[in-house]
């Protein structure tokens, strides 16, 4: 009997898939394994990795946050607007971005838990469009560049080539891993996802637990927004149409999260994020069209879920056989 959610509990298959992909791509293209390219992969992963934190929390509660991508773009544009308006303090920009991102996440939580909208799919879909529009409004639909160094530091700086943004990702993931697996609030999130009514009737303030998840999702989106500004040097409201939300969902699901809630880990999500970037990166190196990339990524998502289902069936069979002895 293994304990749930220990490292052994994470699908070894997903880790194996990542390793196999890396080996194959290394063989296919020598550049893949170069130091610069690996660091590039880490750098590219950071943005999605931050979005996926919030997405994972919401998925564990059996919810979803479709506004993470638009929230990241909006917070980047908000900083852009401040930049244009002559705000010189990068710290102030980032602080405002974090508060704004968190505030919109909080609103998502309130819509769900206090105003009782039926499913966050709809409310966060609405919020996605609101944020997209706001991103264009605050910047007057213009690209903004020339951000202060302090804002760009997180997304741009590297130490010996190793991107600071990914170091930040690792720190956040370790903290979130401990949070989810070792704290009362973390466990409450899994319990609320597994059976929200039983959790509520056990005295857990499920409304606050859920609101917390959506608020944190907003804050993580803001961090992703800051990273994006550093990486590209610009903020661009038009980016809100990019498939950021679905990439985050894909990372979580490949990593073992489930739409029915109660499942998912930080380690799995990290692997999911890496798989997505490695795939995109490798295919670009091999000069394969983005259309093919999309097809393969789609198949990977389906395969990951299929593997999970098969694994559960095999587990059930193993139990059955064990009992027959």
């Amino acid at each position: 009997m293994t304990k749930k959610r220990t490292f052994a509990g994470i699908q070894m298959g997903t880790i194996l898939a990542l390793i196999i992909m890396c080996v194959v791509l290394s063989l296919a293209n020598r550049n893949f394994y170069s130091y610069d390219n690996v660091m590039g992969i880490f750098k590219q992963t950071a943005f999605n990795a931050f979005l996926s934190v919030g997405m994972l929390l919401c998925l564990i509660t059996a919810g979803i946050d479709l506004s993470v991508g638009a929230n990241a773009v909006f917070t980047a544009c908000l900083m852009g607007a401040m930049n244009k308006a002559g705000v010189s303090s990068g710290l102030l920009m980032m602080l405002v971005a974090l508060i704004a991102g968190g505030a919109f996440g909080f609103i998502n939580g309130v819509l769900l838990t206090r105003l009782h909208l039926p499913h966050p799919f709809v409310s966060t879909l609405g919020m996605k469009n609101v944020l997209w529009g706001l991103a264009l409004v605050v910047t007057g639909s213009q690209m903004v560049s020339g951000f202060p160094d302090s804002v760009q530091w997180l997304g741009r700086t590297t130490i010996q080539g190793f991107p600071v943004s990914f170091i930040m990702v690792l720190i956040v993931y370790v903290i979130m891993h401990i949070f989810l697996s070792r704290t009362a609030l973390g466990r409450s999130i899994y319990c609320a996802g597994g059976n929200i009514e039983a959790s509520r009737l056990s005295g857990i303030n499920t409304a606050n637990v859920l609101t917390f998840c959506y608020t944190l999702s907003g804050v993580m989106a803001a961090i992703a927004g800051i990273v994006s500004v550093g990486r590209s040097g610009i903020s661009n409201g038009a980016n809100a149409t990019q498939p950021y939300d679905t990439d985050a969902i894909a990372a979580c699901v490949i990593g073992g999260a489930s739409f029915t809630g109660g499942k998912g880990t930080m380690v799995g999500t990290m692997i999911g994020c890496l798989i997505i970037t490695v795939l995109r990166n490798g295919f670009s190196l091999l000069s394969i069209q983005s259309s093919i990339q999309n097809i393969v990524l789609g198949l990977v998502i389906i395969l990951a879920v299929l593997m999970d289902v098969l694994r559960a069936n095999m587990e059930a069979k193993r139990r059955r056989l064990a009992s027959a002895k």
């Binding site: 304990k3 704290t183 409450s188 597994g194 959790s199 109660g262 139990r319």
Partner: protein
């Protein structure tokens, strides 16, 4: 033609960790009402699922009307004339009664569904079961009794020869039970055999021709009903003589721990007032729908109230959420343990701390060692049958799940324990263990409230009884009162006065 409509011979079915059925046998005659009893975990559910083709037996043979059958799926079993009305009904609540009855066997005119004919047939078949209903109404708007009749109507319509009824009366009110009994007799007179599974022995004596007892997945014996008695059935089921079905022990009556004043919820509760003392069990009697569950849910903060006051140990408390209630020292063991009591996807240990995460934390961090040790202790003291505390709760049997719920609330160290139908659907052995938990609680000076629809349980375990009807308190009966008997309490529950 065989004497038997259905015969099972040497059926063995294994599951992870258990042999659910071991060399099981059962033979049901044409047109008889055949009772099937056993403790929970005795294998009744598995037996049903083998009969209905949900499970395939590992060994053994199934005969229908003398012909050997192999059911690969429920459709094949249905085609052979076996139908089942499960305890948890398969009703599509939003669809009409007709849709529910004709689901998957639609009648068509060309390409289109022939609702005219289907509605007519629905009306007819429901009427033959004693129900006059509008077939167009959404099934979910009907009472539980009618919903059950819809399931029976489905079975009748496909000309089933054997209808299995799994605890059909457990969710019905008194009058609905009577209607069901009438229907069962009617079906019998049409030559349809009924396999009747029940935890209520009186129903078996009223309805059955023969009764089969099973225990621990094994066949014990089948006798004609006149050769059984209450005692012999229970002895046969548990394999030991029960000297006392209700091991009631008395605590010392303490102060008023819970006082409820004029609790009202529009259309549901009307000025409900009562007091509950430490060291006592306060029973709540009444028919299904009398407002007992609604009362305790309101006290617990699970549902909003319109007016009324709740005092805990003399201090008024606003119960705006279950969180507040738990803080104030109240524990509510809900009737629906799967839906409202447990997180089935989580292991035992996580369910055990569901109501007491604070007490199991150092700062924000959970103390896993304390959780594991505490859970292990509770698993042992409550005798929960499980390989380990890491077992997913969804894998446990009903009785063991109920014990996990009890463990959860013992961990919360409440002062007031509210049990809502604590022994529903669990076996005699587990029932006694639940009663012993109540004994331990009252002896420790705690206040226990117990809602029960089983009169013997109310009389057996309560120090005092509140009788409710239609959202109102009808009577309050002390254990030493002359009214503390089945007839008087029933009378109050039906709206009669005790002072006549």
């Amino acid at each position: 033609m065989s004497d038997y409509i259905v015969e099972l011979k040497g059926i063995t079915k294994r599951f992870p960790g258990v042999v659910a059925l071991n060399n099981m046998q059962l033979s049901v005659k044409h047109g008889e009402v055949h009772g099937l009893v056993g403790e929970n975990g005795a294998g009744k559910s598995t037996l049903i699922k083998v009969l209905t083709g949900v499970h395939q037996p590992d060994e053994g043979e199934i005969y229908v009307n003398g012909e050997q059958m192999r059911f690969k799926n429920p459709n094949e079993s249905a085609a052979a004339g076996i139908a089942c009305v499960y305890q948890e009904l398969n009703i599509e609540k939003l669809l009409s009664i007709t849709d529910n009855i004709f689901i998957n066997k639609w009648e068509k005119k060309g390409f289109l569904l022939d609702y005219h004919s289907m509605h007519e047939k629905t009306t007819q078949v429901m009427e033959s079961l004693g129900q006059t209903v509008d077939p167009r109404r959404a099934a979910g708007t009907m009472g539980m009794g009618v919903q059950q009749m819809i399931e029976i109507a489905k079975a009748v319509l496909i000309e089933s020869k054997l209808i299995i009824m799994d605890e059909p009366t457990s969710s019905l009110g008194e009058r609905e039970v009577e209607q069901l009994m009438k229907t069962v007799r009617e079906l019998k007179s049409r030559g349809i055999a009924i396999l009747f599974i029940s935890h209520k022995l009186s129903e078996l004596f009223e309805l059955c021709d023969r009764v089969t007892v099973i225990r621990d997945g094994e066949y014990i014996e089948t006798r004609n009903i006149e050769d059984w008695s209450n005692d012999s059935l229970i002895t046969s089921m548990v394999g030991r003589t029960l000297d006392n079905q209700f091991p009631k022990e008395f605590g010392e009556k303490g102060d008023v721990m819970l006082k409820v004043e004029d609790l009202s919820v529009g259309g549901v509760l009307y000025d409900v007032s009562f007091e509950a003392y430490g060291g006592q069990v306060l029973g709540f009697a009444g028919l299904v729908g009398a407002g007992r569950t609604e009362t305790v849910r309101a006290i617990f903060g699970a549902d909003p109230i319109d007016s009324g006051r709740v005092f805990i140990n003399g201090k008024e408390k606003k119960m705006s959420s279950p969180g507040e209630a738990v803080k104030a020292g109240i524990a509510l063991l809900t009737e629906d343990r799967k839906g409202q009591g447990l997180v089935l996807t989580e292991p035992i240990k996580n369910n055990m701390i569901l109501a007491s995460m604070k007490q199991h934390s150092d700062g924000p961090f959970l103390n896993e060692r304390r959780i594991d040790e505490g859970s292990q202790k509770l698993v042992e003291s409550l005798r929960i049958k499980t390989p380990s505390i890491y077992e997913i709760v969804g894998q446990l049997s009903g009785g063991n799940q109920q014990k996990v719920v009890i463990g959860k609330w013992i961990n919360s160290d409440a002062d007031i324990y509210i049990f809502d139908e604590p022994t529903r659907g669990i076996d005699v052995g587990a029932k006694i263990e639940v009663y012993n938990v109540m004994n331990t609680l009252v002896k420790a000076g705690k206040c226990v409230l117990m809602i029960s629809s089983e009169m013997p349980e109310i009389l057996g375990m309560s120090d005092r009884v509140i009788v409710m009807r239609g959202g109102r308190v009808m009577a309050e009966v002390e254990r030493d009162s002359e009214h503390f008997n089945q007839e008087d309490i029933m009378k109050a529950a039906w709206g009669g006065s005790l002072d006549d």
